[in-house]
């Protein structure tokens, strides 16, 4: 059981030295120490992440135990590399707070506008699911944690603003999740397909090609089908598994599954 210290015994054993001299000596020692090395960081002007504080902030005993570091994997404001973003929507899909909107940014062609995430930090819970889901690693989280603004609309970070964060080259989360080895792939239920080209048109990585397939021979007494004889073929190594093709397919003929 825990050690119980009896005050009376302590007072008798150590005498006045235990109750008066020692505390005063400790206080005086701490006072002198604080003159040499103040333990206060003058926050807005000095910051914990400054290199001079790295591993230098010590607790009262003077023992350095690494307190005061902002580790690289801290989840702060996002940084977005617009140039590598492929508009796959995965960040917006995986957001539990629905704080990510995909907004159009200049750079795409008129038929395929380029869309990048716009994050409302009023809703964001900094869970990091969006950066975990990003297949290209262009949406990451930086160590920046200062966000105070005076207007609500300033909490909404446009893609351009997050690109500015990216260009500031703040430390970013170094741990990226590896894609699972045997991921589900997108499969085609061929008899349902009408060859409408929607999946291939909207695929962010252009990994779907529409290939001609041989025309099936109608059974005797049956009219030849009117559909266009093209079928999507998906390049699994390029596919980022965003599911855009599944959601645009009008016939629900694409689905998740494993190749057998």
């Amino acid at each position: 059981m825990a050690a119980e210290v009896d005050t009376k015994k302590r007072a008798q054993g150590e005498g006045d030295q235990g109750l008066i001299v020692k505390p005063m000596y400790t206080a005086a020692r701490q006072f002198m120490k604080s003159l040499v090395r103040p333990s206060t960081i003058v926050y807005p002007f000095e910051r914990l992440e400054d290199p001079k504080f790295r591993g230098e902030v010590r607790v009262a005993s003077g023992k350095p135990i690494g307190v005061g570091e902002v580790w690289d994997n801290y989840r702060g404001v996002h940084a977005l590399n617009i140039n590598t973003c492929i508009s796959c929507n995965l960040c917006a899909f995986s957001c539990p707070d629905l704080c990510i909107d995909m907004v159009t940014v200049p750079g795409g062609d008129p038929k395929h506008p380029k869309k990048c995430p716009e994050i409302d930090y009023g809703k964001c819970s900094y869970c990091g699911f969006c950066s975990d889901a990003c297949p290209e690693g262009c949406l990451t989280m930086t160590t920046r944690y200062e966000l105070s603004v005076t207007k609500r609309s300033d909490m909404v970070y446009s893609p351009q603003k997050m690109f500015d964060q990216f260009q500031r080259k703040l430390p970013m989360n170094p741990i990226r999740l590896a894609r699972p080895a045997n991921e589900d792939a997108i499969l085609l239920d061929a008899p349902l397909c009408i060859g409408c080209n929607a999946c291939s048109r909207d695929c962010p990585t252009n990994c779907i090609t529409m290939l001609d397939i041989p025309k099936g021979t109608p059974k005797p007494g049956e009219k030849p089908a009117k559909r266009i004889w093209k079928e999507p073929v998906i390049n699994d190594s390029d596919c980022v598994r965003c599911g855009t093709c599944i959601s645009v397919c009008p016939k629900e003929c694409l689905f998740w599954g494993t190749h057998t």
Partner: protein, 381 residues
Amino acid sequence: MSEMWINMGPQHPMTHGLWNLRVRIDGERILDVDPEMGYLHRGIEKISEDRHYNEVITLMDRTCYVAGIAWEHLYVQAAEKALGIAPTERSDWIRMMSEEFQRLASHIMWYAAFVQDLGLMSPFLYGMRDRDLILDLFQSYTGGRLTYEYMRVGGVRNDVPEGFTHRAREVLDWLEPRFVEYDRLCMGSDIFRRRCDDLGVLKANDCVRLGVTGPMLRSAGSKRDLRKDRPYSRYSQVEFDVATADSADVTGRYLVRMEEMRQSVRILRQVLDWLDSHPGPVLADHLPRWLGAPYAPIGREAYLLKRNYPKGVGLSAIEEPHGEACAYVVNEGGEHPYRVKFRSPVFANLSAAHHYLVGYHVADIPPIMGSVDVCVGEVDR
């Protein structure tokens, strides 16, 4: 009219959060109490029904803001049972380590807040200083200081970084002598003893009858600890003792928590040794993509229901820093849990307030309620 009702709360330094204790007093005597909860209700159980299995984890950190990772552990265990997924061995040990670190942080936070309730300022500063070391450790491998979002169904997000076990041992080396310091500050103080001895007595059979668990039950002499009685995770593979006290009063709860911290350090040393010598994967293979992050949701519930996904229910119970918490997850197929239900230990501990408050003085309420270790986030959910 010598009797009256007074409200302690919802904004009162004693409450540690938003709840209201209505007290009927006659002069200084407490005649009746009526705890009112619900000011912090966010409907976490209902919101969970609309989230993917992994997305619920973001809510778990908000359930209890001083023991977030323990609640993550609780939910993830239940969800894994419901989905029929087993975590990897290393991730299980990392989870256990996280939970013990969280127990340390939570108990130190309790120590700081409880002693400040008694009007002693310096233990508060000692406690907050030492808790920060643990939060820094948490940040170095989860990326968050309070809201970790670290565990995933089937494992944990990432492995601990290089050099982590070394840093963790340094923190433990630093913490162990601090417990002696805490004891000298409190148990060595006459004022502390006079304010806490024989206060808020709740005997073991009353605790069991009222569903009071955790340090409150153990302070009444009962050796009930889920880590020993029904070992989950890898607790059966580590050595530790269950901390108990006999006095069933505020001092007893203090002693139990102090001893639990020592036992946590003991467990952590064994876990860190294990982690050093057993590398391995931290996330299970063959995870279905409809779990949510890091996978993309597929967006068509109807399609998922067509496929024969395994259905099931999962029940898990852990010894949370405050007591015994329980989670129940129903998987009816599809991307979202059909129903999620939590049992909060503090809710039961608070609801029994009548039995350990009546008969004492009004000035005794802060030490007694402080010794319960109230975390309103999990009471109201």
